[in-house]
């Protein structure tokens, strides 16, 4: 019996030893709220360019932000790559992000960075209206989200209520029209019994298959669908609303360096790489997002230039006021 128990102990210790590594031994650790499918290849390029090894933890931006706040100075992370500005400004407010080098930030328009330089956008996305040209050809004349509020579109508009980009649009609506104005629009919208979908892709597919005639999505889903199926195979079209409308909000994904990082030099190089011509070209060519550096044009996608749509100029740090937005959506029953 004794030999058997000691054998068990040895076996248990071996298991523990194999299961326990010694933390990350990579040169740089990135917590990425952007998915591996979107940015994985870019990070491989970065490893090659900077000649370093990089470990990436993928997750949801908000959950990673909560993890970073809980880890405090004990975090392994050097860099936080976020899907939206909200998670970055939350970390910045808690003093977890260090100020970035001004020279690095100089290539990006002031609007797409934190006024205090603690985070910077790496790419941008625009809200658009997608429509089925057979059912709603008049969508090309839309100027504002108010044009959607027509009795003829009852049950015909698709949206993704739980999607962060839709919620950012509502936040922009609150900021541009005030609480009452936003509530009015949402109540009128809700009265039309819009069809709720799980995400933007589902909305776009429903429009493409003619199930519904209109949908509220981000621009790049449409470009990606075109790339995936071929331009002729996609029936749905997209329309950019007037640039001063909340329905044409331009939101960003961005990056910040953790104050606790010991590899500050490398982290700064990584940010510089993301904003470099090569990094920016990647977003334009691969994800169909808008580059934030001037002078980069997509070689794969026929994107409407960003300077023609970036009108809904709100302070992107304000997008962190998501609490009030969710409360409002809850009140009007759009959840």
């Amino acid at each position: 019996m004794r030999t058997r128990s000691s054998a068990l102990v040895v076996a248990a210790l071996t298991v523990v030893a194999t299961l326990t590594g010694c933390g990350s031994d990579a040169d740089l650790v990135i917590y990425s709220g952007r998915s591996e499918e979107l940015v994985g290849p870019l990070i491989e390029d970065m490893e090659e360019q900077l000649d370093v090894t990089i470990d990436v933890r993928y997750g949801d931006s908000a959950e990673l932000a909560a993890q970073l706040l809980e880890e405090g100075d004990a975090t392994e992370a050097d860099l936080f790559f976020s899907q939206d500005a909200g998670a970055l400004s939350a970390l910045a407010q808690e003093g977890r992000l260090s100020t970035l080098d001004e020279q690095v930030l100089a290539v990006v328009d002031d609007h797409y960075q934190d006024p205090e330089g603690r985070w910077v956008a790496t790419s941008a996305r625009a809200r658009v209206v997608t429509y089925d040209p057979a059912q709603a050809p008049e969508a090309t004349d839309f100027d504002s989200v108010d044009d959607l509020l027509d009795e003829s579109y009852r049950g015909e508009i698709g949206f993704a209520p739980t999607n962060a980009s839709f919620q950012s649009f509502v936040t922009a609506l609150r900021i541009t029209r005030g609480e009452d104005g936003a509530r009015q629009w949402l109540e009128d919208f809700s009265a039309l019994e819009p069809a709720a979908y799980d995400n933007n892709v589902a909305v776009l597919e429903a429009v493409d298959e003619g199930e519904i005639s209109l949908g509220l999505i981000n621009h790049y889903y449409w470009y990606q669908l075109q790339e995936e199926l071929g331009a002729e195979a996609v029936n749905a079209k997209i329309h950019y609303l007037d640039s001063d409308d909340a329905g044409a909000l331009v939101n960003v994904a961005g990056v910040g360096v953790l104050t606790s990082s010991e590899a500050t030099g490398l982290a700064a190089d990584a940010v510089e790489f993301l904003l470099s011509e090569e990094g920016q070209q990647y977003f334009a060519d691969e994800t169909a997002e808008y580059p934030v550096r001037a002078g980069i044009e997509s070689t794969t996608y026929d994107l409407v230039p960003l300077d023609q749509v970036d009108g809904a100029q709100i302070d992107l740090n304000d997008l962190a006021s998501l609490d009030e937005t969710l409360e409002l959506l809850d009140e009007v029953g759009l959840t």
């Binding site: 299961l19 591996e36 499918e37 069809a195 979908y197 799980d198 937005t325 969710l326």
Partner: protein, 503 residues
Amino acid sequence: MPAVAAALLALLPLGYLVVRAGDKGAGFAFDYLRRDSTSELVLRSLGLTVTVTVACVVLGVGLAVVTTRIVLPGRALWMTLAALPLAIPSYVSAYAWISALPSLAGFGGAALVLTACTYPYVYLPAAAALSRTDPALEEVARSLGRTPWQTFRTVTLRQIRPAVASGALLVALYVLSDFGAVSLMRFDAFTQVIYTSYRASFDRTPAAVLSLVLVVITIAITLGEVRSRGRAQQWRAGAGAARRPVPQALSRGRTLATLGGCVAVALVSLGVPLASLGYWIVRGASLDLDWSRLAGAGATTMVASGAGALGCVVLAVPVGVLAARYRSTGVRMIEQATFAGHALPGIVVALALIFFGTRYARPFYLEMPMVIAAYVVLFLPAAVGAVRASVALSSPRVEEVARSLGRSPYGVLRTVTLPLAAPGVAAGAALVMLTCMKELPATLLLHPTGSETLAIRLWSLTRVGSYADAAPYAAALVLLAALPTFWLSHASRQRHHTEELSP
């Protein structure tokens, strides 16, 4: 001692929650609790929990009766099919339903999906109990003039009540802690609001306050279960060999109706999710699949969930044995404590372990042991329940004999109690293992950087809308989880009482 250690580990999240909830002072916490929306939330979540639990008890006991007590064509097949929904993660099932029927969103959809995914928690113990209860008592009741229905209600149901109650408890706690189904169905339950709170305000205090409310509800529910379990003895009293119940033959019409019912349950719980998976696999057939990556994720899933199951069982044995044999206040508190983490959403348990891990267990932080610790906190009760139930089936008289023959207490545990309870304990391990495989939120926050499980991969692909790429991972997950499920449904039919020793 090990039992106390298990209880302390399970209480870690509670300690964390108290720290976080108090971040802004007790005043903030109480004000937050007094908001109307908080009480509404409690009612909504309890409504869903009660609905699903009742539906699972009806469905689980009904199917158990049908598959153990009635002559049914293909009975063995139905027994397996009835257990198989355990292998389907609630988020896969919810996605299948919502994409087929978008109008299902809300309370009805959440209740449907959760019932379809969790009724086996009731079905398995109920079927096991029904197939091993000696029909003698029922025959006595019939001979004394009770109708079959009265006999079922007053004798049979009473005999299987502890088994059903322990299954119902797992269902209730699962519903409280589930995130996948309620979020896809857009039903604002506790977990959904807790997640939204992290996401919307990046403020951990409201989420902690709500989680504490969830813990209080959990404790109330487990106390209720303990009461309903009562003090019934389950080992057989009296001499003579136990017989197995003989299935009853039904009329042709009733047999067909019963079969129809079984088919309907199988279609809802298995047919729809599997059809949706099949659709995406066919749609994505042309895509290149990285087989080595799929295999790697599968291997990590097996290692992590296997280790999780092992950890749970090792800690559950002392607690379960104590709970089956002694009902002192101390023991009851230890057993209660192990339930503390079970109803908490995975993200809360994960953040608690991040909090403690970064401070007191740095070498293990973001390594496999952290993931295993999370599994133990989350799923220990399922293992404790299995150990307790199987130890309770063997008569303490056997242990007393062994003691009187000179075995030490530890020797009795090792050579008598555990071998007798082994099949039940192994079934508990299988149950925990398949639950670990499906776990996502805690695994996602705690997994070693660079490793990935099937559930993580599935999540990562579906969030960018690559359902066709995700389908093979979902299929692999369902297939792997089906293995312990098969075994579980097989094992639950094999369990027997120990015979009372003849004087």
